[in-house]
Symmetry: C2
Subunit: 101 residues, 2 copies
DNA sequence: TAGACAATTAGCTAAATAACTAAATGAAGA
DNA sequence: TCTTCATTTAGTTATTTAGCTAATTGTCTA
């Protein structure tokens, strides 16, 4: 739980997940999308793995990463539901937009 | 965006939000629910304020904190929607439950 | 089997985080 | 006004985090 939110707290890791949303990618292909070193990216992958947000499978020389959408879904929507959010909430009390015109 | 997930990454702050879900509470009343010092709790409130997840209003000697549900909703559900989650997703591809029995 | 290549691990540094105590601020009441 | 009470700020410490380079591991392929 904490691990998921910690993983999502870093923009690089969120971007990794967005890339994986399109298709599975190898560690190297993922790293090519960023300016950080491979070891730095590997550490990010490790955080995502520990949060169980991605799955890593070895394929020859490469490691293929896949997003685990159900885990992301359970974490985000499960947590949101705990606050009564997510169903059909057109009008909650707080809007923070139209106050004090 | 990052600020919201960073705020949610700490279990104490998630618990604070859960308490505020029931009703607005003063800094002191909130602190009474935890074993940490007041300054430590104040720092947590500060993180929640910077993430715009709570609203603080002064009332006499006290400061009353209120959750901003719409901000939480926008962050969680907005992010989830970016992954195609949240609508009516009975069957996505990945389940991570029924693999390898 | 030797080299090349992909990825991770080891080891380091700087910055951020979460905790504490002590001090400061600011409002209410005696 | 002086004291008390609620909260935040200041300043310290230990731990974690995110980045790096260099070294290691492990798999292909020439």
């Amino acid at each position: 739980m904490s691990n998921v939110f910690k993983a999502l707290a870093d923009p690089t890791r969120r971007r990794v997940l967005e890339l994986l949303r399109e298709q599975p990618l190898s560690a190297g292909d993922l790293s090519d999308h960023f300016e950080f070193s491979k070891p730095t990216m590997s550490a990010h992958f490790s955080v995502l793995r520990e949060a169980n947000l991605v799955d890593a499978t070895k394929s020859g020389k490469s490691v293929i990463y896949r997003i685990k959408l159900s885990v992301l879904e359970d974490a985000l929507l499960g947590f949101a539901q705990g606050f009564g959010l997510g169903a059909s909430n057109a009008d909650t009390q707080d809007t923070d937009k139209e106050e004090s015109s």
